[in-house]
Amino acid sequence: MKTSMLAITATLIGTGAMAQDLPQADSAWFTDAQERLQAQLEAQPNTNTAKNVIILIADGNGVGTNYATRMFMGQQDGGFGDDYVMHHETFPSLGLVKTYNVNSQTPDSAGTGTAMMSGVKTDIGVLGVNSNVDRGDCSTLPGNEVANASEIFTELGKEVGIVSTARITHATPGAAYAHSVDRNFAATLPEGCNTQKTIADQLLDAMYEGRVDVAMGGGRRNFITGDMTDNEGDSGRREDGRNLIEEAQENGIAYAWNAETAGELPTDGSTPILGIFEDSHMSYEADRGDEPSLSEMTEIALTNLQAKAGDNGFFMQVEAGRVDHAHHGNNLARTVTDGAEFVRTIEMVDEMTNDEDTLIIVTADHEHSFALNGYCGRGSDILGLCMGINNQGVENTGEPVMAADGKPYTVGMYTNGSSSVLLEQPGGEFFGSRPVVTNEEAQDIDYVQQALVPRSSESHSAEDVAVYGKGPFAHLLEGTVEQNYIFHVMHHAFTAE
C-alpha cells in the first residue's frame, strides 16, 4: 500500500527521482521539498512593466543577521526558529550582493546607498557622487554628481517616497535625493563650501520641486539651529538661522512630529508629507514611545503615494535604519527586534500592493561583524547560550556547551566592538578573559554579546547580503551581483516594454 501511494505521488510530481521507490519518500522533509520543487517548476517570470517599485533595505542586515532575525521571530512564535519563514523568504527570486565600495573593502551606507539609488558604485562616505570626489572636499563636487533615484524616477513620471527609522538625512535615505561629498554634511557645511547645500536643504528642495512627495524618519536637529528647540525641546545643529521645518509648513507641506500628528496626516495624495519624529534617530522598536513604528510610517507613506500616483506609479525606499545601530552597540536583542519590525513592514507592503504591477525588493546595504557559534542544539535561544545537541531527541539538552576556558558562550557574538573581552590595562596593553554569562543574563534586552577585537564601536563587514524580489522582473535578481545592479533591475522594471 505504501509503495503504491508513493508511486502515485511520483506520477503526480513527474520527476525522474520520484519514479524510484525510496524509503524516505513519506518523510515530511521529503514531501515538503517535492512541493517546493513543483512550485519552482511552475514558476513563470513576470515581465509586466512595473507601475511601482518598492525597495526595503534593512541597514546592516546581511545574511547572518537575517538568520538571527529568523531565529528570533521563530522562537517568539514558539518554535525552534530554524524552520520559521519570514515574509520576504517566500519571495521567488533571490541573489547575493557584493557590497564593497570603490575605495573600501568594507562598505558604508553612503557608498552602498549610492550604488542602489544611482546605479554606480562610489567611495565610502559620499552620497550621489562618483568616486572622483575627495571625501569632504566640496571643490571636487562639480562635474562628479550622479543622478539619483528621486531625479531619475521623477523623470519617468513616478512619485517618490522615503521612509527610515534613522535620521531622514542619513546615508541610505539621503542617497535617494542628495549629492554630498560627505554624508555628515546634514545640517552644516565646512567654511568655504559653496558647491552644495546641506543634505537637509537638499531634501526640502526635492520636496519643493516635486521630486520627493513623502519623507518620514528621524533627525529634527538637522532642520533647526542651535538656539531653536524642536517639538520635544531639543536644540538643533544648523548654524544659518533657519528653521527648515517651519519653512516646509509655510510651503504647504504637511508635518508630523509624534504618533498623534502622524495619525492626522492627510493620505489622500493632496499634500506632500514630512514626518520627523525625533531629535536624532527614531527609537529602537524595543524602546519606542510616542512615535510611529516603521510599519506605521510605511503605511502612511504608501497610502499617500498610491493616492497621489494613481496609474502613474511611484518609487518608495523604506529603511530599517536601526538594525545597524544596534549591531554597532553589540546589542543583538535590539538588532533582531528592529529586524522583526522590518519583516512586518515587508508583509504589510506586500499585502497593500499587487504582484502584477509592483516590484518589491528586499535587501541590505551591508553586513556587520556579527558571527555565529556552534555546535548548538535545536532551540538554543538566538539571544542566549549555545546549548548542547541532544542525541536522543530533537530539542537541545538544556545544558550550555562549555568552551575550553570552562565557560559557556552565546549563540551570536561579534568579532569586534565595545564589548570586547580584552580590557585596556595601565600602560596601554590589552588582555582579559571572557566574563561568565548565564542564559538569563544573555537574554536581557540590554545584554551586549561578547566581542574579541576592542573597538569603540562594532564595525560593518564586507560579507555579501541577500536580495529578494517579487513582481515584475524580480527574476533578474539572481546569481551573485554587484550592488549597483539592483538599481538597473528597478529601472528596467519601470521602463520595460
Partner: protein, 145 residues
Amino acid sequence: MTNPTRRSIVAGLAAGFVPALARSATAEDMLKLRELYDANQNFSALAKELEGRTVSVEGFMAPPLKADIEFFVLTKKPMSVCPFCETEAEWPDDILAVYTRRGFDVVPFNRGIEVTGELSLGPRRHEDTGFLSMVRIENARFSYG
C-alpha cells in the same frame, strides 16, 4: 564628547525602554538602569520608593570627563561611538551619575561594574564641569560585576 548641557538634558529625559518591573523596593537586588524610569521617561515608582536608600546598580563606567574628578557616568552598555553613522558621540538615554566617596580608579569602559550607594533624584550640577545630573548614586563604591 558632547557638552554637559546636552548630557544633562539627556539625563533628565532619560528614557527607560521598559516600564519598571513590579518589584519590591530592596537594595539587595541588583537594579538595572532602565528600572529607574517608567515608560513616560519619568522616575519609576521603584526609583521614588528607593530614593535616599542604599541601592546597587550594574552597568559600565563611561570614560570620565577629566582626571581627578569625583564622579563618573554609569551606562547600561559600554559607551561607544559609531564612526560611520555618527558625527559625534551619541549618549544613551538612560545614564546615571555616580559620585564616589573619594577619588576612584578608572575602569575600562567595557568592564561591567556594580555600583552601590545612596540613590538621589533631582537636579544637581557639578561645580567644576557644569555637568547637570537628574539621578545619581552618591557616596558610592563599586566593584567588578
